[in-house]
Amino acid sequence: MGYFLGLILVLAALWLGLSGIYTPLILTLGTISILISLVLASRLETLDREGAPYARTLNLFAYWGWLVVEIFKANWPVIKACVSANLDINPALVKVKTRCESDLAKTVFANSITLTPGTVTVEVEGDKLLVHALFEESATPESFAEMDERSWKAADGSRQVAT
């Protein structure tokens, strides 16, 4: 039920933000379209922890704020590598172990690695990620530890993991 409520709130906010015309007719049509989306989502059975992770919105947004700063820090060496007169890169494939257990947490972690310039997640197998890095020296296992810890906290947090 909470997932339903979360989806209704998000869909309504999105519709109100995108529309900009608030006459009764348009609002009614918007309500109908939200209801249709809800029916479709429940028929597809996508309304679970992964399809509507809105209970963790605050945690995820806090994590996102930290991630954006990290992304801007990581942009700098890649920009330098792009424009420096002598090409000087040191690509490598590294294996990263993660403590994330749920699919949502793993997705958040793998997407964060890909989003950060200079590292791309190539493959996810179990709790190991294969990461391609532009600079081997900046892709040590320790450099991913903080991101791993934070994405685990944001997506899994205090939740009891059912095994």
Partner: protein
């Protein structure tokens, strides 16, 4: 107080235009990287500069130039969806290349021939 708001309103479009220029510059830098890097995987890294840094700065610049809050909301939604779908696409590309057996270039690469001989 109203003077301060006036000053902010006067600076806002200039700052927005400046940020748009910076974002466009970053996008060009990312493109240069895509053209210069040696293999597929490293080119993906150069493209991610355009995906993240350039897109964020461009959207902030456009938000400063936006006439109404509705436009700002739409730009924020675009930013959100860009950050969710961008890495998914990059990962799909990298994973497809890896599954198909494309071997990445590993080890230090320099375009300076003297350094290459020394290393």
């Amino acid at each position: 107080m109203s003077e301060l708001i006036d000053v902010i309103m006067a600076i806002k479009p200039v700052l927005g235009a400046f940020l748009c220029l910076v974002g466009a510059g970053l996008a060009i830098i990312g493109t240069v990287g895509v053209l210069r890097f040696p293999d597929f995987y490293t080119r993906l890294h150069a493209a991610s500069v355009t995906d993240t840094g350039a897109a964020t700065i461009l959207i902030v610049g456009m938000a400063l130039l936006a006439p109404t809050w509705l436009v700002v909301f739409k730009l924020a939604a675009i930013w959100l969806f860009l950050f969710l779908t961008g890495p998914t696409g990059s990962h799909a590309l990298a994973n497809a290349a890896h599954t198909a057996g494309l071997q990445p270039v590993i080890g230090r690469r320099t375009s300076n021939p003297e350094e290459e001989e020394a290393g």
